[in-house]
Amino acid sequence: MKFFLKKFLDLIPTLFGISLICFVMIRLIPGDPVLNLVGERGVDPARYAEMKHALGLDRSIPLQFWYFIKNAVSGNLGTSIVSNNSVWAEFIERFPATFELGTFALFFATIIGIPLGIYAAIKRNSFFDYFLMSSSLVGYSMPIFWWGLILILVFSVKLGLTPVSGRIELTFDIPVFTGLYLIDTLQSSVVKSEGFAPFWSALKHLILPSIALGTIPLAVIARMTRSSMLEVLGEDYIRTAKAKGMSKTRVVYIHALRNALVPIVTTLALLFGSIITGAILTETIFSWPGIGKWIVQSITSRDYPVIQGGVLIISFVIVMTNIIVDVIYYFLNPKMRN
């Protein structure tokens, strides 16, 4: 119990700091904050005063900050200059796309990375081991935006296997249910009793961006798994398990892997940040309508309310994820419970 309490108490100053940064940042931008936040220029004084009051910028700075936080907590993060929609609504509309992409990418990275790492640890110093280590090093030295382009070049342009952009063929009209196209297309196909073409289309659109986004996490996970497994396999209790007559599979998967997974879970937490980073770049390349592309576009179009609100929400999501990972770690490691 004390553990959870401490975690939540730590959360508050962090969120406070992030809100402060977002708040201050907008006011640091060259130019008049009122005009920046509304996006108009050359307004007459009366209208200017009106806008200023509407934005609450006629209050004192501390009061402004208080209202900023108050509004943020209730979901009011301002209005986008470009689209005139509420920032929050735009986020909600786009978040599922990034969530689907990120989850699929992480899934790909874990499903392939962990077994590769285990195998490399078992067959230490073999050709496979060296090959894996070198390729993973190349993997995280690559610029992700270039890698995405190369994948498009090979699979979409030259081989014509996958589409170049978007989430689904535009001819399909899918009722948005969860926002996760894989689920929505399945649900729609079942309800309408039509073929599964929309599902396959969604899947085809998802594969390449996921591979692009998931490559660096794959490299990191494979390395981490290998070194963690090697460390665990050298422990005394592994020798005991062998001496008890446990089969090699059992020793690796039940005795070793469980203990080796602990640092891997921590790595996954760190990877989440890199997924968001990668998503920003990957979504731009694949024209994937998620929050990454949203933030980039808002910067190039000087949509300040979106930048301010978007960064705030994204940071909040990341901080929450880190806490969730800490909780999972707590449950995985019995030693922590005492």
Binding site: L137, M142, I280, S315
Partner: protein
Amino acid sequence: MKIFFNELYFELKKNRGAMIGIVIIFLSVIIALSAPLIAPHNPTEVFADALRLPPSFIEGGNAKFFFGTDDIGRDLLSRLIYGSRISLAVGFSVVVIALITGTFLGVVAGFYGGIIDRVIMRFTDLIMSLPSILFAIVIVAVLGPGIMNAIFAVAVVSVPNFIRIIRAQVMAEKNRQYVSAAKLFGASNFRIMFVEILPNCMAPLIVQASLGFSDGILNVAALGFLGLGAQAPMSEWGTMLSDARSFIESSPWMVTLPGVCILVTVLSFNLLGDGLRDALDPRLKKQN
């Protein structure tokens, strides 16, 4: 100190990857420094009649432009060579700024502890809670696009790593006897921190510097790709990739080559950093 570097080099030589990294870095520096001499053309010179030519060894290419030309007729090879100047300069600047700032803050935090430490760590955690690119983008959004702002932004997000590493090392060292001895001799805090303790923290610093170089290049290239870093007509590799996007079908070499350059450069620093880490690790244990 000299013995330290001699021993380090000896250990490092054993690691083949690190040696390859050093060779590549060395070559890159040579290329970057001698760019005006070895580049066949001026990187900004436009050849209006030679738009989007493929590399000379492919059908349709022109021997005058070894790697072909880009969409407005500039020689790719020359642009890539000048690009190495930018990337190496960028990596260097980022590391220098982050290292000096991070080391200073880390030493102060580790040495004084207490509230100074808490404040600095809060600040560090805050920066680290945002993904690096996002924060860098935000900073550039505030300051405006451009390569100098990009370098500054990337340096800011690189600082926390340095702070953490130095602080940990300082905290381990400050209870050692030579520190108590220095205090007894009346050395000022400043002297103890920077003259006594800091030289013993070189090992992790060097590793982080090498890895920070590669991260710095990648991050600035990413900003360039998003249009927030180096601006035209600068031939920064990331910016070149962004220009090449529209021509992925017609001129794939425009896409492939700058990325390969980034990859090789970053890889060489990662190899070096990994090698340094392996070479210094047993040393770290020996030191303790």
